[in-house]
Subunit: 421 residues, 2 copies
């Protein structure tokens, strides 16, 4: 394992990630397919509509029987039965006859158009007057006019929305071939870390935050959170747990303690996996520099910084895009940081360094014609900064900072709700 | 029950909805609290940090022992033990002494500052040189400096994001008081409707789409989809099922058949519920006019149009905002149609009528400096229109149409992925 990789830029890490293959396909019932990604292109097995349907309430007719009809000189047709919703037309239509039909009703054989009820007059039980001609095909939708049998419905990589699932139901697909969702284990390590369930906090200890924030981000990115644990800095134990977790997880997220040596510690874990291939050791990002990514057989191992804001930002900027790629979502859909963005005016200057990506938490404030973004500062250990921020601004590696008053893209921590409270 | 209500505008319906009360509170474990809404304000039960912590690696000292120290004339301090991560400081610090401390370590009693390791020189096992003075409190975060005990963490109505859940973990909240999620039954009715699971499609029948599209929208809006069923137009059966469903559902969504009489049919169902209060019967919206909303005891009943696009639009524009209100999300967060929007240039003129809200499905196309919105037209029965559209444009009741070339807000069908394929 090459232990001494050069620190990579965010762009370089994303390029590595975009080279990963999607997970395998699985077939899921329609009711579980919403938000999932098509594992292969899908052609419609059936036409829509399945039978020629009226698109208006009225009378099914042979269009030529109506040619020349007008208010002054209506065509007289014999009423020959009625089509009921959900039933086959009772019989085929002879020339000179008309059949009552509702919107969505099945056209009888022999009929090629529908006269809207507005242009008819019932003379008696047996006869209807038609006061306007209809063209062949008028007010009718033919077999396959909406979706032809064999027509490409969705390409590979398509993310299924509510209407897409409904469309699959319409053409009779009960199970859908989608890409598997990555199963992710989340481990928080550090001698000082205890779980929120552990009761009274001993002096010198702090409660684990990272499994909670990472869980939410993984969920939102479509991953399945599997095992979640808090571990002390015990190398043997960590190696043991990771080995077990890789049996039924695709990804392990291990956030290190906040001590200086955390990164080396994570590398030591990887030393125990003969099949580990170190891909990233250090990223030019603030916060989040001591980030590690390795491939371990078919699985992926992330060593994340222990600091809550750092772990969260790396999860947003790098782990979530990887989960997208593993799900077959095309990475270009989530360029940097994913989720929703909103434009805002930066309310102060932000210095940065060329070659490094900086993530600055900001608070949004409504202004006359949009939003102002106020950087939320605090000493780096601050938890309250995370809570106060509505989102973050990314200063890319090509910029040496952002000037006050420029328009910035704020990546929102909450996709639907720009500004809370 | 007032059967003959005036058709209401979308704005009026939203105002009615905003008057609904949120559901009751429930306490959920942290691991289930992501995305949920605080049912009451929450004050921090504990301070963060819980103990004074070093924010740098170095030496815990009494600051006055360093005053006047410089490279030329360093202060000499006796090294008195070491603080380990996750442990209480071994003893208090006497004057003239220094204790080794890591970032995040617990400050010993008596110490009031940390000298960064960069400004120290180890002389021998027992002695360290300090080459810079530190001020009281320097490189230390005191008890409650980040979050004070009793400080307001979240107001009522706050939607919990990943970092908020992490913050709750940090202050020791294992269970969170959140508003219950509305449980929603989804019924698709119509003599012509069969379920996708029913095998070969008989002539004249079509497969149910609405339960599938409504399910996805309800899920995305935070509702819990309970019973899902497809029913024939059998009034007695419908009344019976609805009565049963109201026992353990907060909301029933019933989409009618596409026949003209569907709306009257839905009203007939409500006639059988003595406690039903009709709130809306007809909305000035296209598509979606024959929409009904009634309160039935503590529950809500929606009669939605049977046409797939209409049912979907009404669910996006009216039902989803109601689910927000029932969850205690403040309605202003989801002004019209919810989810994410993107600005685009309209590529053709769209006529409309004053007093009516129009929803036009559009496809987004990348242009030089943004997106173009192309209306997706098709005969109204078209399913493929739904699949082709990336989102929709709303022409408000105050507008009589939109001109070609104007900038419009496109409401995306998929919150994260603006343009697919």
């Amino acid at each position: 394992m090459a232990e001494f990789l050069r620190v990579k830029t965010v762009r370089e890490v994303l390029e590595i990630i975009q080279g990963f293959e999607a997970l395998e396909a699985e077939r899921v019932p329609l009711s579980h397919s919403y938000g999932r990604v098509m594992a292969m292109p899908l052609d419609s097995p059936e036409p829509i509509p399945h039978f020629p349907r009226a698109t208006m309430d009225g009378y099914a007719v042979r269009s030529r029987d109506t040619f020349g009809a007008s208010e002054a000189l209506p065509a007289l047709l014999e009423v020959s039965g009625e089509v009921f919703m959900g039933e086959a037309a009772p019989h085929s239509l002879q020339g000179g006859k008309a059949m009552v039909i509702p919107t969505g009703g099945m056209m009888p054989e022999g009929a090629d158009a529908v006269v809207m009820v507005e242009y008819t007059h019932v003379l008696d039980e047996k006869t209807v007057e038609i006061t306007r001609p209809v063209a062949p095909g008028e007010n009718v939708i033919g077999v396959g006019d909406d979706i032809a049998a064999g027509e490409r419905l969705f390409p590979e990589g398509w993310i299924l929305r509510p209407q897409d699932v409904a469309c699959l139901a319409a053409v009779g697909c009960e199970k859908v071939p989608v890409v598997a969702r990555p199963k992710v284990a989340v481990i928080s390590t550090g001698d000082e870390i205890v779980s929120v369930g552990d009761g009274q906090l001993p002096l010198g200890k702090v409660r684990d935050m990272n499994t909670h924030s990472l869980r939410g981000i993984v969920n939102a990115a479509g991953g399945i959170v599997g095992t979640v644990m808090v571990l002390e800095d015990d190398l043997e134990r960590m190696v043991h747990e990771c080995r077990n977790l890789f049996v039924n997880h695709d990804v392990i997220l291990l956030s290190g303690g906040s001590s200086v040596g955390a990164r080396d510690y994570t590398l030591k874990i990887l030393d125990h996996f003969a099949e580990a291939e170190l891909l990233v050791s250090g990223v030019a990002i603030r916060p989040g520099k001591p980030t590690i990514l390795a491939r371990v057989g078919k699985g992926f191992f992330w060593g994340l910084p222990g600091h809550p804001f750092s772990a969260m930002m790396v999860c947003h900027l790098l782990v979530a895009p990887m989960l997208d790629v593993l799900q077959g979502k095309q990475a270009r859909h989530r360029p940097l940081g994913g989720t929703s963005t909103v434009k805002a005016i930066l309310d102060r200057q932000l210095p940065s360094v060329h070659g490094r990506t900086d993530c600055i938490p900001v608070r949004l404030r409504k202004s006359n014609d949009g939003y102002m973004a106020e950087p939320v500062f605090g000493r780096s250990a601050m938890i309250s900064v995370l809570v106060k921020a509505d989102g973050y601004v990314v200063i890319s590696e090509h910029d040496e900072g952002l000037d006050r008053g420029v328009s910035v893209e704020v990546h929102l921590f909450s996709p639907t709700w720009p500004v809370q409270g």
